[in-house]
């Protein structure tokens, strides 16, 4: 039996705002056919102010899926659409005093449902490109699809690499066999292409990462800021943002804000930024969330 918080139980036994909403003018239907959860979010939006006057849900899913749908409707009522879009899955989990990691992974569809409902209200098309695989790392809720993508994108070859990029395997270590299997699969595919694992791509330009020529700290921070600037438009499209917090030796701490904060893609986002940093700086650095910063240095 899952360890559900009292608040999850309470919202499951007595869900708020369930059932159809006749006056709805924004409807979002999302689901995951495999893991069996599906959610219809119905919004009644005031056309003038874009304030959500009412929100209802219908959910096909487990206890935490029903509870998190209920929580979502409570959270967003009274918000404007833009405010509501900033509600993250982590906000929903926090509202419920936490969820088991396995449940964060598949049952919290609130964010996707919101995006879908808002898109529907605004007459836009919405499609979810988030693909889920079998859960590998139970400590950090990282699935096989994400691990495989990160391995491919960064030509990773060791479990340590995978942990470095995704956090997967960084906790109890029981999933290392699973990670090794994914690594072996990807490496075998490369080998059967008739080539050795391809070298790390050096970017579009012919320019190789500038080796050695040691930068001053100021130059380094300039470079770091440039990299961050280059990724910000991409994050802002997803209603998130990033800012530099501090640089300590080889560790670069950043603030992820807006939709990026607590997003389950956070680890992949940081991994991607890190890869760009390594290319731009020509040295191995680690990009970490500011929350990992030592309190007293």
């Amino acid at each position: 039996m899952w360890e559900y918080s009292d608040k999850v139980r309470e919202h499951f036994y007595n869900p708020r705002n369930s059932g159809p909403l006749d006056a709805a003018n924004g409807i979002g239907d999302v689901g995951s056919i495999q893991c069996g959860d599906a959610l219809r979010l119905m919004l009644k939006v005031d056309p003038q102010s874009e304030v959500i006057l009412d929100a209802h849900f219908q959910t096909f899913g487990c206890g935490s899926a029903i509870a998190s749908s209920s929580a979502l409707t409570e959270i967003i009522k009274g918000m404007t659409l833009d405010e509501a879009l900033n509600v993250s899955n982590q906000d929903i989990a926090d509202y419920l005093d936490g969820l088991p990691p396995e449940k964060m992974h598949c049952s919290v569809m609130g964010r996707e449902a919101l995006q879908a409902a808002v898109a529907n209200y605004r007459g836009e098309e919405w499609s979810d490109d988030h693909e889920e695989g079998a859960l590998i790392c139970k400590c950090f809720a990282i699935d096989a699809v994400m691990i495989e993508e990160v391995i491919r994108a960064n030509n990773l070859t060791t479990v340590q690499d995978v942990t470095f990029y995704t956090k997967a395997g960084g906790g109890c270590a029981a999933c290392h066999e699973g990670i090794e299997d994914i690594l072996a699969k990807v490496l075998t595919e490369h080998a059967s292409d008739g080539e050795a694992p391809p070298p790390r791509p050096a970017g579009n330009t012919a320019e190789a990462p500038a080796p050695a020529a040691k930068m001053t700290l100021v130059q380094k921070i300039h470079k770091i800021e440039e990299v961050l600037e280059s990724v910000r438009p991409m994050l802002q499209r997803d209603h998130g943002d990033v800012a530099l917090a501090d640089v300590q030796g080889k560790k670069i701490y950043v603030h992820l804000t807006g939709a990026c904060a607590g997003c389950m893609m956070e680890a992949a986002t940081l991994g991607g930024i890190q890869q760009k940093m390594i290319e731009a700086l020509g040295e191995l650095v680690q990009v970490l969330p500011a929350s990992h910063m030592p309190v007293d240095v």
């Binding site: 039996m1 499951f12 036994y13 869900p15 369930s18 059932g19 159809p20 239907d29 999302v30 689901g31 995951s32 056919i33 495999q34 893991c35 069996g36 959860d37 599906a38 959610l39 219809r40 219908q58 959910t59 096909f60 899913g61 487990c62 206890g63 935490s64 899926a65 029903i66 396995e102 449940k103 992974h105 598949c106 049952s107 569809m109 996707e112 879908a116 919405w126 499609s127 979810d128 988030h130 693909e131 889920e132 695989g133 079998a134 859960l135 139970k138 699935d143």
Partner: protein
């Protein structure tokens, strides 16, 4: 009302008579059966009695055909790996798509190790096709492993017939009978089954004890090597208290075999009919005419199993589900998928598994408590509107799937 336990295929309550039989083996009879002194020989005699009790329940010809192990999973692994090691010229294993993970995961691992594993599929009622089975047998097959009864649906495979067919081609046959032993009559000496796995905690013995039946003359390679326990076929000091408990539980199971097939079966049928007649859009899964007497697996469409279990649990009713959410995996039960049960039904499957301790009063209570729960959850479901599935009303719910 006292809690109602209908999850006996997961595990069972240890019979008080079993506990009583075991207790002296923690205190005065603590000896090691291998020792030369009186402390040891008392235990040695008790193990012999227990072996005879297990032998009687499964109808083995010889007492020495029983090897005590730590659990059903160990018995399964020992059987399959032994068949491969003893016949290095054979590299193929045949299993079914609905085996327990103890066999399925082992199969996946064997494939990685370079062995060939063929999987027999099942039809929508969970039945295998014997012609397909026959076509899969050839001289490179080391062993066939098919469960006697399915843990989720209770469906019985024709393992005696399958063993005959394998034997005619000189192929070893193993059956995972963890769910079947103690619930249906088994008489191994009249079959061609070479190996059979059983587990104590499914038949009112404690957890941590199992047994492997190994037909005399069947070539064998131990999984655990070391001391000479179990005639050198399973090293490690005997778990004497648990073995005594398993023996006693087998004796009691033999006594109650007719209870299982009369009283327990009657209550199971009453429960199933009671639910199916009151609730629309639900059906019993598996081969309902050939299944264990204690198991009923019902798919409640358009709602999800974990939610059902949580609400049943709130009323003190314990059952289990094939839903993905209860297992921590992302997929619903492999048994339901193998039978082609649609996702919207597979996620809503609930298994009720009874024991000889369930009463008519309990069953009546479950029959009246369940329909409101199903109704409550369907009201929350986007696949349901008013009194039926929304698709039939032309307002179909078709979410963007991740």
């Amino acid at each position: 009302m006292k809690p109602i336990y209908l999850d006996n295929n997961a595990t069972t309550r240890v019979d008080p008579a079993v506990v009583e039989a075991m207790l002296p083996f923690f205190t005065e009879h603590f000896g090691n059966a291998s020792s030369m002194h009186a402390f040891g020989s008392q235990v040695g005699r008790a193990l012999k009695t227990a072996r005879a009790q297990v032998q009687a329940l499964i109808g083995a010809e010889h007492e020495s055909e029983i090897i005590f192990t730590s659990c059903g999973t160990e018995s399964d692994a020992t059987a399959i790996l032994s068949a491969l090691k003893a016949q290095p010229e054979r590299n193929t294993v045949i299993i079914t798509a609905v085996e327990h993970p103890a066999i399925l995961s082992l199969g996946e691992w064997l494939e990685k190790e370079g062995y060939i594993v063929h999987t027999l599929k099942v039809d929508k009622r969970g039945r295998i096709d014997l012609d397909e089975y026959k076509s899969m047998l050839h001289e490179r097959v080391a062993v066939v492993s098919a469960m006697w009864a399915n843990n989720e649906t209770g469906t019985l495979f024709p393992v005696e017939e399958m063993a005959e067919i394998a034997a005619a081609k000189g192929i070893m046959f193993h059956t995972d009978a963890v769910q079947a032993v103690g619930k249906i009559p088994i008489d191994l000496k009249r079959t061609k089954i070479d190996m059979l796995s059983l587990s104590g905690h499914k038949l009112h013995a404690p957890k941590g004890i199992g047994a492997l039946y190994l037909r005399r003359g069947c070539r064998f390679r131990p999984l655990l090597r070391g001391g000479h326990q179990e005639r050198g076929r399973r090293a490690g000091t005997e778990n004497s208290a648990a073995i005594v408990g398993l023996g006693k539980a087998c004796e009691l199971a033999l006594e109650h075999l007719s209870t299982e097939n009369t009283q327990v079966r009657g209550l199971r049928d009453q429960l199933e009919q009671g639910l199916l007649s009151q609730i629309t859009h639900c059906f019993a899964t598996g081969d309902t005419r050939h299944r264990l007497p204690n198991t009923s697996n019902i798919a409640f469409e358009y709602i999800e199993g974990e939610a059902i279990l949580l609400l049943l649990n709130k009323l003190g009713i314990a059952a289990s589900s094939g839903s993905a959410c209860t297992s921590g995996s992302l997929e619903p039960s492999h048994v339901m998928r193998a039978m082609g049960i649609p996702y919207t039904a597979a996620h809503g499957t609930i298994r009720f598994s009874l024991s000889r301790w369930n009463t008519a009063e309990e069953i009546q209570h479950v029959i009246s408590a369940t329909p409101p729960i199903i109704e409550q959850l369907r009201k929350l479901s986007p696949y349901w509107s008013n009194n039926g599935p929304s698709e039939s009303l032309g307002t179909g719910f078709s979410p963007t799937y991740a």
